[in-house]
Symmetry: C2
Subunit: 398 residues, 2 copies
Amino acid sequence: MAVNLVPPDPARLHRVAGVDLGVAMAGIKTANRKDLLVMRLSKGAQVAGVFTRNRFCAAPVVLCRKHLRNPIRALVVNTGNANAGTGADGMRRAMQVCAALAAKLGCRPQQILPFSTGVIMEQLPAERIVAGLPRALRDESDWLGAAEAIMTTDTVPKAASARVKLSGGEATVTGIAKGAGMIRPDMATMLGFIATDARVPAARLRAMVRRAAEESFHCITVDGDTSTNDSFVLVATGAGPAAASAKDLAMLGRAVTGVARELAQAIVRDGEGATKFVTVRVERGRSRDECRRVAYAIAHSPLVKTAFFASDPNLGRILAAIGNSGIEVGNLSLYIDDVLAARRGGRNPAYREEQGVAAMKKPEFTVRAVLNRGRTDATVWTCDLSFDYVRINAEYRT
Amino acid sequence: MAVNLVPPDPARLHRVAGVDLGVAMAGIKTANRKDLLVMRLSKGAQVAGVFTRNRFCAAPVVLCRKHLRNPIRALVVNTGNANAGTGADGMRRAMQVCAALAAKLGCRPQQILPFSTGVIMEQLPAERIVAGLPRALRDESDWLGAAEAIMTTDTVPKAASARVKLSGGEATVTGIAKGAGMIRPDMATMLGFIATDARVPAARLRAMVRRAAEESFHCITVDGDTSTNDSFVLVATGAGPAAASAKDLAMLGRAVTGVARELAQAIVRDGEGATKFVTVRVERGRSRDECRRVAYAIAHSPLVKTAFFASDPNLGRILAAIGNSGIEVGNLSLYIDDVLAARRGGRNPAYREEQGVAAMKKPEFTVRAVLNRGRTDATVWTCDLSFDYVRINAEYRT
């Protein structure tokens, strides 16, 4: 039950010149299910990525980090198996997939980026993926089809698109993602892929992907667990206009960040058992780190998240979570949407609980903590902790 | 539904010379319920305490920290209201209770330690507590009665007792506690009180309470939320034998830590919705901090905790949680009780999932992570994340 999330309209997902998409049913874990995506890139495409900080990272993540030193010709994504916790054998199998695809495209295996999502600690059935490659290469998919092919337990495919006017013409930015919260028991991965036809220098692209991640995928949390496979990759094919000037780069960067944010928020809306989409905004802190720490203290507290689920404006839990992050709360104001619920660390005398309940009954609302300690802000998006979260995560294998 | 926890046998809870207990029904929140405890201490008693690190701490915690500079004559504990998030008025009301009790005992208000647990962000009904004091002072309670009087949503009263032979004779150590996990919506507090009749120098007692907390209350987690009122106080009345020699102090310290640990574990066994009591042991790390960080990463992961609930030996989730704590897991071994489930960061080839399920089906088991990076160990006790956790925390006020 996703919160205010519907499948994207394929007509609004603009094609990106220089990217060819193909999907296939490779029977990796389940028959008759799209589980393989190949994204071929035109020659000269620039690629940059950010990856999980989890030290228990998957074989494909290790390979991606390495292969990104080379010109990349294709991305290959499989669902059904995460190839994580699989040791040297897992590395060998991931390379086997890269090698098979490289042979078909006439490039080196080191020019392929592999991505896997699905069951952890089981060996990747590389031969099934390899067998599925010819079908994926023959296929001509649109971005919605690609979004569907990378879903595991997502209930809605996630894709977003934008156009932006640069000095040399209009550029397109289109992306897809899959969730999040380490999804179901063994399903571990947040994947995000965004492509633009703009031409962007490599160093600028690396900065752009980091910035976009910082403002999108790094600002979401479902249950606080970072997966072993989290990957976010930005492709600039160069088939369209150049983004060379500072102004062009800023415009393009904003478009990329906007698409990334829409995808990131879609992941939270489709979080496990989510019934509420909550924006946690922390204002007037001393630093961005401080604001983030406070925002995550709120967004990760199981007590706060169950209160969200219950539409219970439990001020004490929220203030206690903030206090746990090490912040003095004596000067703090707390808003639920526009309702001033607490000020100077205590209840606002004019606040009536019905106001808080009314705001929190909505499927989307904002919790805003004004620290009154500095000038910096931060925002995090999260969902509630519901019965369904426990059911999904507890009952999967029982 | 507490895990392997029954009410303590009153015959095994030894009286502590120099401590007089009295309880009363003061009608603080609910009528006909023991909600007030007064512990009078004999003259010359030494008292030391450790308190919540939450910056949003309650008025009584602020006062306790201050009053501990003086010789303490009594502790007063109320349930039904936490006096947290109550500002200057909350401080005034807590002092009003101290002053009333001090007047009756013929001492200064600064010689009273106040403790409150219950609803957050509502003003303390100090007048009801003051009105209840004469009855509590007339009452003669045993330790079980005292344990019952400080319960809020605990399902089982928590008390433990030990005797220890010192060079000057046998000393008694008896304590009570209430849970934990910020319990129900507005019920926020872990309280622990331990008393011994031994005579202990003030500085030694302060070291003893810190050490005991470090090995007990600081090693438990239900949901990772530190409450606003957490307090743990150790009293040494001096009515019994002296603990002067290093050996005596070590013996007594061990007994105090043992009682504290029993109380701390009882809090986890009675955690919200708990159906499993899980010991998380991390071995062969580089430092205690590192081992603790890994243990808490496991014990706080909602995905791991729901797997505990489901008796699902989900190795991937546990290794991912460890990887999230920033530890390289390539060399790690993982045991569920005595079953070697993973080694060198991957599945143990000889491991069969039935073995893991069999171990985790029990109401108590140990998850043991051997990091193979150093020589230090740490242990944390936790419980699972069940439907009832969500129900208790979501449905309380709806």
